[in-house]
Assembly symmetry: C2
Amino acid sequence: MDKTGISMTDTPRSGRSSEATREKLTRAAAELIAELGWGRVTTRAVAERAGVPHGAVSYHFRGKQELLIESCLAAFAQAVPFEEYAAKATLDDVVGLIGSEIDHGLHRDAVLGRLMFEAIREAERDEGLRERMGAMVTEYRKVLVAVVRAEQERGAISATISAEGVATLVTAIGDGLFLHALLDPDLDVSEALGTLRVLLATR
Amino acid sequence: MDKTGISMTDTPRSGRSSEATREKLTRAAAELIAELGWGRVTTRAVAERAGVPHGAVSYHFRGKQELLIESCLAAFAQAVPFEEYAAKATLDDVVGLIGSEIDHGLHRDAVLGRLMFEAIREAERDEGLRERMGAMVTEYRKVLVAVVRAEQERGAISATISAEGVATLVTAIGDGLFLHALLDPDLDVSEALGTLRVLLATR
DNA sequence: ACACGAGTTGGCCATCTGGACAAGTCAAAT
DNA sequence: ATTTGACTTGTCCAGATGGCCAACTCGTGT
């Protein structure tokens, strides 16, 4: 059939059944980054959790770093709910979405939030990762700006406030609150978000 | 004689000249945690940067983890400007302080902010570290609550808003903004903080 | 039947890592 | 002067780690 078909990206040429192994590896890697932290992940541990021999890593990826980067970017691309945010017409809904994501992320087995922090930290050490992560967050913020602008046109938020400023604030609050909630499970996230709603309401 | 050289209080008995070596080690460890991430720090790298032989680590600390934990807690205890915050009578001043700390933290050689994130992530894996870090953040938030209450009595902030909620929000915004600024150096932090000031102003 | 080659598997190795420890240093106490 | 013990220093070791690669499997095209 086709041999030249799928590849063109990088790594060894991607064949047919190899896709399954690659995905097992990236899934396992994402979990382990979230659990152990980027620097403590070993290729052997990833292979073991994926249920494949450790030699498979060398075949499917150029090395450990490429495996880890592809793993977290794949996890984000698949999981970040841009559409959900864009569909929300009101900031109130967005704040609610943040709250439920924090709640969900506090479960022990939740990977995405923790993976996010590890990736951001690693991005400072890896040029390519930083660019890709930065583009993602920028897009996220852009969606929020659109939501804020819509609110301002509705008159729900004062038109004199910077939409970009609000978007940046809300984005930062989401991550900051999650971080602090990880540290202190008793932190009253919903009270903070309730306060945020009040502050954002028209004056 | 003593084998691991451990008293029951903590680490070896604290002598006189050993304090210098210990401090060289903790300083070097804090730097390396911030630069490489918690999981990639090695005792040898710490010793080398500290300019002491690598065996010194085993003598002065029970092991790598104790060295790292003591290093970051010492760095925080010495650097977190509780007094500065407590002295600020207005939230406006506090927001300004956050801004300048973010600006300062964005420099490559700035350790504290990066160390903070590494410590929070590690706190999820280390019970003792979590408790100590949580206590620190809680105290920080408590100071902010006092500031907010003072503002409310002055009438600068509506008395109907939850002071705890505002304190939690502001704390989270500080860390969240710093995190995003690390990822995207072009992020307009001051615009976001300006917007925050507007939102916090009396209505 | 046969060769081909993508994909798989497990073994190998140079290097690193954390921790242990014996021997050495030195100043204060005796 | 000698002893004592905190502190230092270099070495050693068992285990892990990342990457490499030769042998193997198996579906496909000839």
